[in-house]
């Protein structure tokens, strides 16, 4: 199947795969009717999909350097778009995004705008030029463009800090889902998740990760869209929810007023009873609830971070041409858009089904004892994702007496809306796919930078191919284990660390990457100062804010990238201008990068 004309057969192969997956869903639905238990269905979904990914990973094994690092530079535009979308959409996007929108409304939407707008920067400023460069990794570009091991090393440092922050969150997410679906303790589930991640990437590097990511995208998008459309139709909200939920949004505003949203503040003593991580509805669903600066600063950080995160950028090194890289960015964003535009709709449907007394599923305004007797309430209460308490003692559930975890919006809504359990199993498989695909991309980005840039380029340039690939694989396993070990400690919530990763990447890499293409005068000294200075400034600000410093300009621990990147830009310009201009060969290299035709700067094998 993976021989000969593999690339030309791709549509057929993945078409068959998609068909097969749908047949599997139908079989599970039939099995459910026949009495298969919810737990077994959940196990089947996660186990079956993970085994398929592992099989793809095994079939894509390789002993070629360019296949291991670049998937042979033959990934077609649309498929690379799907792989990037899976690489991009993490467990956080899948499991936590709708919940964030549900609880925080407009202020949270800055993330959606930022995480999509960033791709315009990727397409116009960076991806086509880095593809022309022909580098294996992002530090490979920095090291060759600016010259010198110090620049290369600095880029590896920034990459490792940003990607490692991100990957612990993803391994954490695979662990959470594996522990729920397979019913095993979290600290074991983390390693089960890790094993699945390594199976997809170890033997085939980028090639294996590419083809598993395409498969994972198909699973995750089916798993996200089916419930949204199904719930919307079941509630009679609209055949096509994205265009038809205006009345529902208006109805939520009406109910918020009716139930007195924000009228009653819970006392600190009452809130103490609420399990950690759960929150009540405190913000209006569709109102503008933040200042323009807060919204824009968060969006800007996410956009610049998107353009600097190496695991995304390196996906565009795998296309056959510069032209394909550019178009591929468009396809990536299109596939991302399919999920992102559905998340607010899911949040709306979820909130309405819980709030509206005219719907059978509405619980606000019912008696507390009635709510506590509902099956799904008991399930999710047990999973520590839902909680009610009669604070005012009137026996009725008020809006301020209902608490839910952010993940419940995606995980529990199908059950609340009365969809068969097979959908919940499907959602678990989707979440697993989302978290695994991102973790794969990240672990590979880090281990490739260490094996190619540190080991091969700096320590042992004479290493043979077999040895290089062996080192790459050993590092992959080590990085994975380090990530899993830290994930098991659970330092930050899933989303918190994801946002930090963007700020770290933006602080250290955004300007060195962009100016590397767009400013010929930028030199190695400037780039090193920009990378290390930016990273240090951003980190210092983060640490200061975390330890009580009030900060300035409303820059918070979520937007510290602004501090880092401004310092980075200033240092880079000042130091570059104060030192010698790059030599003629480097200037010529930049000229060559700017036109698509001609040979790549770095060859297929380097």
């Amino acid at each position: 199947m993976f021989k000969g004309n593999f690339i030309n057969n791709l549509p057929k192969i993945y078409g068959t795969y998609t068909g097969g997956f749908i047949v599997f869903i139908i079989l599970m639905a039939i099995a459910e009717q026949a009495g298969m238990s919810a737990k077994v269905i959940g196990i089947c979904f996660v186990a079956f999909t993970v085994l398929i990914y592992a099989l793809i990973g095994y079939l894509s094994r390789t002993i070629q350097v360019d296949a291991y690092y670049l998937a042979g530079r033959q990934v077609p535009t649309v498929f690379n778009g799907m792989a990037t979308a899976a690489d991009w959409m993490s467990g956080a996007s899948f499991v936590a995004m709708a919940g964030g929108i549900y609880f925080k409304g407009y202020g949270y939407m800055a993330l959606l705008v930022g995480w999509t707008g960033g791709y315009v920067l990727v397409a116009s400023l960076l991806a086509p030029y880095l593809r022309k460069f022909g580098c294996y990794t992002v530090p490979d570009f920095i090291g060759t463009r600016y010259g010198g091991n110090l620049a290369r090393l600095s880029a590896v440092i920034v990459l490792t800090v940003a990607s490692f922050t991100y990957v612990t969150a993803q391994i954490n997410a695979t662990g959470t889902i594996a522990s729920v679906a397979l019913d095993i303790p979290f600290n074991i589930a983390v390693y089960v998740g890790l094993a699945s991640i390594l199976m997809c990437s170890m033997l085939g590097g980028m090639r294996a990760v590419t083809w598993t990511q395409v498969a994972q995208y198909i699973v995750l998008i089916i798993a996200y869209l089916i419930p949204v459309f199904w719930i919307s139709n079941k509630m009679g909200a609209g055949v096509f929810p994205h265009l038809m939920l205006a009345d529902e949004v208006a109805r939520i505003a009406e109910l918020e007023a009716q139930f007195g949203l924000g009228d009653v503040k819970n006392s600190a003593a009452d809130l103490k009873q609420v399990p950690k991580g759960l929150s009540g509805i405190t913000k209006a669903h569709a109102e503008v609830n933040t200042t323009p600066w807060k919204f824009i600063s968060l969006a800007v950080c996410m956009m610049a971070g998107t353009a600097s995160l190496p695991h995304v950028m390196m996906r565009y090194f795998t296309t056959p041409s510069v032209k394909a890289a550019r178009r591929s960015v468009g396809w990536s964003l299109f596939f991302i858009f399919l999920l992102y535009s559905s998340a607010p709709m899911l949040a709306t449907l979820s909130k309405l089904s819980l709030m509206d007394p005219n719907l059978a599923t509405g619980i606000i305004g019912k008696s507390i004892s009635e709510v506590q007797a509902i099956d799904w309430y008991q399930n999710w209460n047990q999973a520590n994702l839902m909680f009610v308490s009669d604070f005012n003692g009137n026996g009725t559930l008020e809006l301020n007496e209902f608490f839910m975890g952010g993940k419940a919006v995606v995980l529990a809504t199908p059950e609340i809306a009365g969809l068969p359990y097979v959908i919940s199993g499907l959602v678990a498989a989707g979440g697993m796919a989302a978290a695994m695909s991102t973790a794969d991309g990240l672990v590979l980005a880090i281990s490739n930078a260490l094996s190619h840039d540190i080991y091969y380029k700096m320590i042992n340039p004479k290493a043979e191919t077999a040895k290089r690939l062996l080192i790459a694989r050993i590092l992959l396993v080590l990085i994975g284990f380090a990530g899993a070990t830290i994930a098991a400690l659970e330092i930050q919530g899933i989303l918190g660390s994801v946002i930090w990763a963007f700020d770290f990447a933006m602080s250290g890499l955004f300007f060195p990457l962009v100016l590397g293409v767009w400013w010929k005068r930028a030199n190695a000294q400037g780039a090193v100062a920009g990378m290390l200075g930016g990273l240090a400034a951003g980190t210092a600000y983060l640490v200061a804010v975390r330890s009580g410093y009030p900060g300035f300009l409303d820059i918070t621990q979520l937007t510290f990238g602004i501090v880092g990147s401004v310092v980075s830009l200033v240092l880079m310009i000042v130091v570059s201008l104060a030192t010698k201009a790059p030599d003629a060969a480097t200037q010529k290299m930049v000229d060559d990068v700017r036109v698509p035709s001609g040979k790549a700067i770095l060859g297929r094998q380097h």
Binding site: Y106, M109, A110, L112, V113, G114, T116, G117, Y119, V120, L121, A123, S124, L125, P128, H242, L243, M244, L245, A246, D247, V249, A250, A286, E287, V288, T290, P292, F295, I296, A299, V300, M303, S321, V322, K323, R326, R327, V329, G330, L333, F334, F337, Y340, S341, P344, M345, D591, R594, V595, P596, S597, G598, K599
Partner: protein, 87 residues
């Protein structure tokens, strides 16, 4: 001016246009969140501020990238810098 310099000038021009459109829909309009919310323009019946964050800006970015890619391909062709298929 050499062919390459002309090509780069046009490429830069396209970049500025692209980034200007990007700026409007990622930053510009969100300076006016409250105004958008009160606006009588309601796409599909949603408040404008809500719509732009859910779909509007996101969809415009998708279209913008494809438009940009198409324009850049034209510029590359015009100056003979397109890649050959077998490159």
């Amino acid at each position: 001016m050499s062919k390459q310099a002309q090509h780069w000038e046009k490429t830069r021009g396209l970049l500025f246009v692209t980034l200007a459109i990007w700026f409007v829909f990622s930053i510009g309009i969100f300076l006016f969140g409250a105004e958008m919310e009160a606006s009588s323009i309601r796409p599909f019946g949603y408040p404008l501020s809500y719509y732009m964050t859910c779909q509007g800006s996101l969809g415009i970015f998708v279209i913008l990238i494809f438009w940009f890619a198409g324009r850049q391909e034209k510029i590359d062709e015009e100056f003979g810098f397109s890649e050959r298929e077998d490159d």
